[in-house]
Symmetry: C2
Subunit: 219 residues, 2 copies
Amino acid sequence: MTKVNVGRKILSANETYALKNSELLTQQGNRCFNMISSPGSGKTTLLVRTISDLAGALKIGVIEGDIQTDIDAQRIRATNAPAIQIITEGACHLSAAQVHQALQKLPLNTLNLLFIENVGNLVCPSSFELGEDGKIVVLSVAEGDDKPVKYPAIFAKSKVLLVNKIDLLAGAMVDFNIERVKADARRLNKDIEIFPVSARTGEGMQAWYDWLKGQIAKS
Amino acid sequence: MTKVNVGRKILSANETYALKNSELLTQQGNRCFNMISSPGSGKTTLLVRTISDLAGALKIGVIEGDIQTDIDAQRIRATNAPAIQIITEGACHLSAAQVHQALQKLPLNTLNLLFIENVGNLVCPSSFELGEDGKIVVLSVAEGDDKPVKYPAIFAKSKVLLVNKIDLLAGAMVDFNIERVKADARRLNKDIEIFPVSARTGEGMQAWYDWLKGQIAKS
């Protein structure tokens, strides 16, 4: 049998929606980042502080993914930013189709930056493109410094690593060697930007904000 | 068409292996607990301390599940307990078939307690029975007190909730209302045993050890 190369990649349903999302976001002039981490690394707190501190400079919207509850979307809306909650009812990651529906409900033409806060899970969400411009992995220092070697995929695929809760490093409350994390993450991904931050105290957040503003300037 | 009820549940491949594992463990007189949590809640540190503190009282073996590396099995073996590492190479949970293979490599007839430390993931592992006598969910206080309502399945299915890293509650380093966690977990699961512990300082561990000893006495 002769194989005919039709010169076209067959896209999965998820990839098809991811492509649609990407086209829509580009058309509307929105940069979009897909935020991925374990449960409890502080993604929502990071977003709340980022939105508040950058109010006036950037117009930010959020899509929240959770297994259950709309607690996170409520926290975002308290900053006056628009937020759409996706409740996955058990599913361990967001799909591009779910994000596609949520995009219809956001005032994209008034925004320049969209964050998708994925379901808290350091494993599964890394395999599903949502149409984002890049992934951002968040690691809390309370989780330990062995996470890049133990969960390499998301560190290999992310544009940015936010090492959060660095206020807990004071007084040696947790055992965490940040140089080990940086070296291991860069071994997996030489281009990854790494920002040690505390969303609670604000320490280190400025460098992250400068990076975000640089991303908007580029688009 | 007439439906004929053959009065037999068709088991999935995973359930078939889970049943085999359960039979083997019962035959060998081993109690087995499947430990599930987010990455970095302190499962391995909890096991290392439990094994060391109970040396002489209980003979404990461990099956370690990780996406990559055998760091955790090495940590367990340093206590002289037998440990088998399963590397899932990307898979987000352990399967009963993987555990079945690991069981062949453990000296089960010399043990009375087996822990399976699942892949760090608060979502997927809760859906896969491994043949255990019960699930143990670990939640670090650094992860926040909204986790039972946001990730209900594992709290609903577990025999025990270990609230770990309670040493971080000192000095209000983290915002965590343990009474909220207890109430939310018990709303999902009225029989769940809850032990606030610090695997780092040893605080609260005795109640957990007493519970474990009670489980062995029963078997």
